[in-house]
């Protein structure tokens, strides 16, 4: 009756859920992959009092949620989670198992993959099922993002990958959805060797790049902190947020919470205006989820122009004051 063999599995990562929607993004992608494989999408959910997440996952498209509810699963613990999920995998044999490349995903999935003696690719920016071989093609940045590698796991199962947050778009919430919930019997757990004694939640800044509909992104082409600060004026006029490349942050022009890209945040904005950024992939992975990208750069050969809808070849220092003045007049 209850076949879950061959499903696409998604790790239910709910810490800081209302900020971090990675699991919902993975469900949406998981459904595409599952359709190609003619199978279902299952989210595995471990924790204490996780009912609401189970419901959210169904509302966002999961066919099945597999739940372990236990006080000892309250904290994210690599070894406990590895032991439990490796048993589940051996028992239910998913074809694909993906997790968000969150701090925990990146710490826990390698250990799980090793225990299962299977392959794992890191921080993928795309996943597709090859229609011929039906293998999962895992696209992952290499050499600092200069190249993309297409990785496959030909023989071992499940095919595992962690996925960069923000590269896939979640499905809308559907209250009418009905799914299946499975509670596998859970054994007693050994005392974990690594214990989180204290976990201080993040101090929430006002910056919410992930949810902004307009993002102004600045890079080294702005040449000074003073120039960079013009971006805040521009952002205010367009009711947007300011993001920055890693070099701009290292130069002290903006705080870490504004970091865009592979090691920072990914946006799903309607519009990104990228100013003085050269367009290294570490950065552009953070803005590729935007509907429209406009870039201003004085170098016509800047790689950033390869990914834009509109490329403006100009010196930001000359353009910014005129642009701000024009907008101020118009609004």
């Amino acid at each position: 009756m209850s076949k879950s063999f061959g499903d696409v599995w998604i790790f239910g990562d709910y810490r800081d859920y209302f900020q971090n929607r990675i699991t919902l993004q993975l469900i949406a992608k998981g459904k595409d992959l599952a359709e190609m494989l003619n199978t279902g999408t299952t989210v595995v959910l471990l924790g204490e009092q996780v009912h609401q997440y189970a419901m959210e996952y169904v509302a966002h498209g999961a066919n099945t949620v597999m739940v372990a509810e236990h006080p000892k699963l309250k904290e994210y613990e690599v070894e406990t989670y590895t032991t439990l999920l490796s048993q589940w995998v051996k028992s239910y044999r998913p074809e694909i198992f993906i997790a968000g490349a969150t701090s925990f995903g990146r710490e826990f999935f390698p250990r799980l993959a090793k225990r299962l003696r299977t392959g794992l690719s890191a921080d993928c920016v795309d996943l597709e099922v090859d229609p011929k071989s039906l293998l999962l093609v895992q696209t992952t940045p290499a050499f600092g993002g200069e190249l993309l590698a297409e990785v496959v796991t030909p023989d071992r199962r499940p095919q595992m990958a962690t996925v960069h947050p923000g590269v896939f778009r979640e499905l809308p919430h559907n209250s009418e959805a009905v799914g299946r919930i499975i509670y596998p019997d859970v054994d007693v757990f050994p005392e974990p060797r690594v214990k989180v004694i204290r976990s201080r939640p993040p101090i929430k800044g006002k910056v919410s790049l992930e949810d902004a509909s307009v993002v102004i992104a600045g890079g080294m082409g702005l040449r000074s902190k003073e120039q960079f600060e013009l971006l805040y004026e521009l952002a205010e006029l367009l009711e947007g947020e300011v993001g920055a490349t890693r070099p701009a942050i290292l130069s002290g022009w903006a705080d870490e919470e504004r970091l865009l890209g592979q090691t920072g945040k990914s946006v799903k904005a309607k519009l990104v205006i990228s100013i003085g950024t050269s367009g290294a992939l570490q950065f552009t992975t953070g803005i590729q989820g935007a509907e429209t990208v406009i870039a201003i750069n004085r170098d016509p050969d800047a790689p950033v122009f390869r990914i834009v809808d509109l490329g403006l070849v100009a010196d930001a220092a000359a353009v910014l004051p005129i642009l701000i003045e024009t907008l101020r007049r118009r609004l």
Binding site: A54, M55, I181, P184
Partner: protein, 153 residues
């Protein structure tokens, strides 16, 4: 294969039964005149209240205590009391003891209802009893309702 339990789950509202989420369930036979039943019906999107209908009987005698229809008292031969509590209601016996408690927790995008009760059928069999912060249903026949229950005309 690891042993497991399984249920349907609604994206909108569930009841917690046997430590599982379920969109709805029924114990006993609602259509059988005078007999025990407990129906926790499927709650439709847009509604935030659970839908509890039941015929509750006295332990031992099997006499009717109270009958609820969609959370409201319909028939009340033993003068039970309907009392509102935060997020739900209680049905008290005239002695003041709690016969049934129904409480709904609201999440950001959904609802979860917990029930507390110890209920017997007309033959004196225990059909529903407390488990953790909700109930356990003894029936092997416990069907999962993923669409609203329809009574016979």
């Amino acid at each position: 294969m690891i042993k497991y339990r399984e249920s349907k789950i609604s994206a909108h509202h569930n009841y917690l039964v046997n430590d599982m989420l379920t969109p709805g369930f029924v114990v006993g036979e609602p259509d059988k005149q005078g007999g025990f039943y407990f129906l926790a019906d499927k709650v439709l999107a847009g509604e935030s209240m659970p839908r509890i209908s039941c015929r509750l009987l006295e332990e031992g005698s099997g006499n009717l205590l109270v009958e609820l229809n969609w959370n409201r008292i319909q028939s009340n031969p033993k003068a039970c009391i309907h009392q509102s509590i935060p997020g739900g209601f209680q049905i008290l016996l005239s002695s003041g003891n709690v016969l049934l408690e129904v409480q709904t927790q609201a999440f950001a995008n959904g609802y979860l209802t917990r029930i507390k009760a110890r209920l017997y059928d007309e033959k004196g069999f225990l059909r529903i009893e407390p488990l953790g912060d909700s109930i356990k249903v003894h029936d092997a026949e416990k069907p999962v309702l993923d669409s609203p229950f329809s009574f016979s005309p």
